[in-house]
Symmetry: C2
Subunit: 515 residues, 2 copies
């Protein structure tokens, strides 16, 4: 378990580098006084494997470099800061959480600290608690929040540094300085195990198409990585759908073509991977959802929703809305998330696609163009991937990020995201540092208002990962090139290998074994 125990190796580098983070980092007026530190940590948003190791890495940093320091865990997300709901995290408590999945040591939550009032409360809390640093583990929204808090604390002359840690299984929080977000590696491998198992089942039973919906709303990194891991008949990448302005009917046609092509060879089985965000990336439906998000931002009752849809939706979008099956229409209007957006993850896109492919194939059958059998089974692999035991990669990456975050606070840095790079090298050779959160930000429209946010990293259609997929997908569609990667291992020959996405992006490999 080289990587698993390897955080200590990387942390040596961390402590070296933490004294000289990115030149563009802003310093607070005040350096942390004395050798003892008080640092608070908060977990924000959906779970991702490795969260406990971030806390563990931070505790290690404090124990090793600043003995006598205090680590405070804010409970159940950013709301815990506002409520001063917290716990002291000691080594005794930490011991049983290292390398485990879940965020339950301190909990997580989706509250946001955005309003003037909340910002003032948060500032008062960190002042009252006399904390030198606040570590925020979260996705793009939470790190945007971290940037705002850093600014707020600095402008009030508070000593509290704010450091972000990139967390999201979706893998869409990365950039030139942030190689990956934690939890992505584990989630993909949990899903790939299950997909591989389904493939062996499909290949053995030879009678079903499995339509598998995977997490990944804004970006299709998970679906792409799972495709590279398992070699399915089809994997839909939202970024491509969007770029090529595909309609639902186009996608259905493509899948039906693959099914029909395989049927000619007597192969009436296969696997189709679908990212949960698909339907909002189909431009015609994306436009519909986008208008719904605006229209329904401040609307709550069923009657209001119905009125908003029937009277205020533009005719073009109303037509698209009415084209969808009743069950999908219903799902589009379900409870909104805290950002006021359609809960895209509730839409059973895999069912929708299966139904539409079935209809298309029956049409072709009547026209004498399809003579195969088509029976589908749907799956949604979602929550299972968020709280697994972290892979060795995520375990080590998280310990390292936690350690680095501590070092950045000790160095009086604020408004940075903790980073580790050279991830293709052995863990002891990773280099670490901090990257300004503000450099990642842009303007996006939310709840009908412009807002500064961290830009989500989408799948790059000209990047090496999509290219690797593009090169192989026709072969995978027609052939039976299934790859079943098996369960995550914590020891053994491949236990430390990171995912294909990272390897391709780092250039560790130009071509992976995806034949």
């Amino acid at each position: 378990m080289a990587l698993r125990g390897g955080a200590e190796g990387a942390t040596a580098a961390a402590s070296l580098r933490s004294e000289e983070p990115s030149k563009s980092s802003r310093q607070t007026g005040q350096e942390a006084a004395g050798n003892c530190l008080r640092i608070g940590i908060v977990l924000s948003g959906g779970q991702a494997a490795g969260g406990h190791n971030v806390i563990g890495g931070l505790l290690d940093y404090l124990s090793e470099r600043h003995p006598g320091s205090q680590l405070i865990g804010f409970k159940d997300g950013p709301g815990g800061i506002l409520k001063k709901s917290r716990m002291d995290i000691t080594e005794d408590i930490m011991a049983e959480f290292r390398n485990t999945g879940g965020f339950h040591l301190i909990g997580s939550g989706r509250d946001k600290i955005e309003s003037k009032e909340h910002l003032a409360v948060a500032a008062q809390v960190v002042k009252d608690l006399d904390v030198d640093g606040l570590i925020v583990c979260g996705g793009d929204d939470s790190n945007t929040n971290a940037a705002v808090l850093a600014e707020e604390f600095a402008s009030r002359g508070l000593k509290t540094c704010v450091i972000g840690v990139p967390k999201t299984i979706d893998g869409d929080l990365k950039n030139s300085q942030v190689a990956t977000s934690f939890g992505f590696d584990t989630a993909c491998k949990v899903y790939a195990e299950q997909i591989g198992n389904l493939m062996m089942d499909a290949l053995s039973a030879k009678k079903y198409y499995h339509f598998v919906r995977l997490m990944g709303r804004a970006a299709s990194h998970i679906t792409l990585e799972c495709a590279l891991q398992t070699h399915p008949q089809a994997a839909i990448i939202c970024e491509e759908v969007h770029q090529q302005n595909k309609t639902l009917a186009d996608i259905v046609d493509e899948i039906a073509d693959i099914v029909a092509g395989r049927a000619e060879e007597g192969k009436n089985y296969g696997i189709v991977l679908i990212p949960e965000g698909l339907i909002e990336h189909v431009p015609q439906i994306g436009a519909l959802i986008s208008e719904l998000n605006e229209l329904l931002a401040d609307v709550t009752t069923d009657v209001q929703i119905h009125d908003a849809v029937m009277t205020r939706l533009s005719p073009a979008n109303l037509a698209v809305f009415e084209f969808l099956p009743a069950s999908t229409r219903q799902q589009l209007l379900l409870d909104r998330d805290p950002h006021g957006n359609v809960q895209v993850s509730r839409i059973e896109t895999e069912q929708l696609l299966l139904q539409l492919v079935d209809v298309e194939l029956e049409k072709r059958r009547k026209e004498g163009k399809f003579a195969g059998k088509f029976a589908g089974i749907t799956h949604y692999f979602g929550y299972e991937g968020r709280c697994s035991f972290p892979t060795n990669f995520d375990a080590a990456y998280c310990s390292t990020l936690g350690y680095v975050a501590g070092a950045l606070v000790a160095g009086g840095k604020t408004g940075l995201m903790a980073t580790a790079s050279s991830l293709d090298k052995p863990c002891a050779d990773w280099t670490v540092g901090g990257y300004p959160l503000i450099d990642m930000m842009c303007i996006e429209r939310r709840r009908g208002k412009d807002k500064p946010v961290i830009k989500k990293a989408l799948v790059e259609l000209e990047g090496p990962v999509f290219k690797a997929f593009q090169q192989m997908r026709r072969k995978w569609a027609q052939g039976d090139c299934f790859r079943s990667p098996g369960p995550i291992q914590f020891s053994g020959p491949n236990a430390d290998a990171a995912n294909f996405t990272l390897a391709l992006e780092l250039g560790t490999t130009k071509q992976i074994n995806i034949a």
Copy 2:
């Protein structure tokens, strides 16, 4: 990986024991002539992890003990015998399938060799192919079939021995001589990994109840084992439901009581495990399904089905039928399986229960008896568990059974099931033998007719496995005693451990760590 490579150890025992199998075994008139053997193998029914290792173990036996022998794989199930659809399995081919999941080396199928005509064809085929033995890997039905074939071949004076191998992830093919069926260990551990992940998610997010349906139609062994592995808030055991004559309303009440009890402590989350066979084990619904199975045995069109239900169903069962939600009624009438039975696995019992629990809690809320939150998410873990890489236990058990099956054929034994016992000892000390299939058989009603079948082993409510669960379940219901066992490991400290069910039944442990 002691067990994984350990089949060789056990096979030493196998070869010793195979010369003296159970006294009650019947011998064919003819012993296998010469040193070379021709053995056929067929995989029947649903996939179970380890099938390829049975073939590998059989090939090892032939290579080591009867060099120059031929191993014939009948393709895509028993139908492959009738069609003479087959392939030679050599070490070159076998090499890449050892320790892998799935049945795709030779495929599987659900055809049955039952009619006089089919039995005659099968006899002609084994005669034409000059095979000394036929190994049938399957569940209760397939092994019943194996017994019939053994009888048929013997009565025709054919030399072909028939040996069964116990395969079913459901774990319901076991008895005093057959410790377990292969695939059960792996399937339970695949499901337990996912359930454990969901638990950590529930505990971290603190806002959902996950209702998880698991495979296991006739018996609830999988649900029981998964409960011991993970410690959920509730796990429904069909055998108990049946014995206590519980209604759906009783079950819904019990779950609602647990939810309400936890809500009083502010815990609005948890996990409920549900075996897929539940609704036919609720006696009132079991009676309905049983009558439907008889009524619809020879009925195919929608109109006939509707007529049969509305005009011929007894008034009591019609009332129960009409009490069910429309979606469930629809599911009860879906395509029948090849035995003419309701496809119980298609019924989304987890959805049904979630809806009914929600209704019950809303009722209690109005009565002022429930003030908590209740939000549910449903899951079905099924196909994912059938084709995983086998656990070390299943890998070794299957290699051993394959080896033993070869030895039994070489010894001229027929109508036996290959067995391995002392499974609580290290693999090299397992003892092996054969147990007469006919000793496992009884009479059951199928498609409205009496038929000899192998009796399914149900969960014993007075047995040590259920007792272990019963002892802990109240504590698990109210507390947060979640256990996340993590992904199956192939090396490391616990990689070789078999499941709790087997350990408790073998008396290896009186009490397992289920606190």
